[in-house]
Amino acid sequence: MRPRATFLLKFALLIVVLYLAVALRPVDRHVVTPFSEAITAASAWVLNGVGEPVVREGTMIRSPRFAVDVKNGCNGLEAVLLLVAAVLAFPASWKAKLIGVVGGTLAIEALNLVRVTSLYVLGRDYPHLFETFHVTVWQAVIFVLTIAMFLVWSARVAPPQSPASA
């Protein structure tokens, strides 16, 4: 089978398996929800740090003027799943894969902090733009940068004549 097709098949299989794993109720309750709460706490800390008085309640950041709820799809985990599936499907050493997954995850979550805090400010000051930026612009930006990280990583670790001369 061609390397391109092999990669795509492995990627598709891994993305389904990873999604089903995080969608399981016990995983959601004991891993995903606490993770979302941690992201929310970090975002609230950043907002308070830059002089935006907000309070956090669970996965909610609120002030008298606006509130955001950091649900599944807003915690960066969706981009991490895509990155992990792509890195694991790519022909590279396990050490390179570990570096790709850990480094990529940290970068995605740092970017996600910018997304959550900027969406809070946008929703407070320009509520008519919130939905477009929330659903379309920021989601696409996060995934463009996630895939860009993968393409740069894959170009560096690709064995000679393998499917990624990015």
Partner: protein, 173 residues
């Protein structure tokens, strides 16, 4: 004189901005088209429901025996993966090196949009018909549609765009 290459970040940014502008411009008619195709497929299953597209969302009136059931599907999460694909296509210096595959990739994405709306309708109906769900949707079937719709929204749409990009890259093989 050799042609100067546009730096990659600028190309990707231009692809993103162009894709977003096109999406904002054409989302209304495209959503109506996707809604109409999904509605027809839904009716073809003998469900007796009616799809009414309003550009931003598709509204499905419930099946004949449950006419008060309503499902609203917000279309932006369904189709915004087109913006990602436009940006990714500018990653390589010669975008759409395999343009025939590009057409196939777009068709695959469009088919994904229709399937996602159908999954959203079934998932929404399974929830709104709650009491009657047992008769209409078995637990396994309701869970399947719910997982498919949630999975598409959370990561499937973006994974589909990435797969389409990877399949159409000239330098990927």
């Amino acid at each position: 004189m050799p042609r100067r290459r546009v730096p990659r970040p600028l190309r990707v940014l231009a692809g993103f901005a162009g894709g977003l502008a096109l999406w904002l411009l054409l989302a209304g008619p495209y959503h109506r088209l996707v809604g109409a195709v999904a509605g027809s497929a839904f009716r073809a299953e003998g469900e007796g429901a009616i799809a009414v597209s309003a550009g931003r969302e598709v509204v499905i009136a419930g099946p004949v025996e449950q006419p008060r059931a309503r499902v609203r599907v917000s279309m932006a999460p369904v189709t915004s993966n087109l913006v990602l694909l436009a940006a990714l296509w500018m990653w390589d210096p010669r975008p759409l090196g395999r343009w025939k595959w590009g057409v196939i990739a777009l068709a695959a994405l469009a088919a994904g949009h229709v399937i996602a709306v159908i999954a959203a309708i079934h998932s929404g109906l399974a929830v709104s018909l709650e009491g009657a769900t047992g008769e209409r949707y078995g637990a396994a079937e309701a869970n399947f549609w719910f997982a498919l719709w949630q999975g598409y929204q959370v990561v499937g749409a973006w994974a589909l765009a990435f797969g389409a990009f990877w399949a159409t890259r000239r330098s990927a093989e």
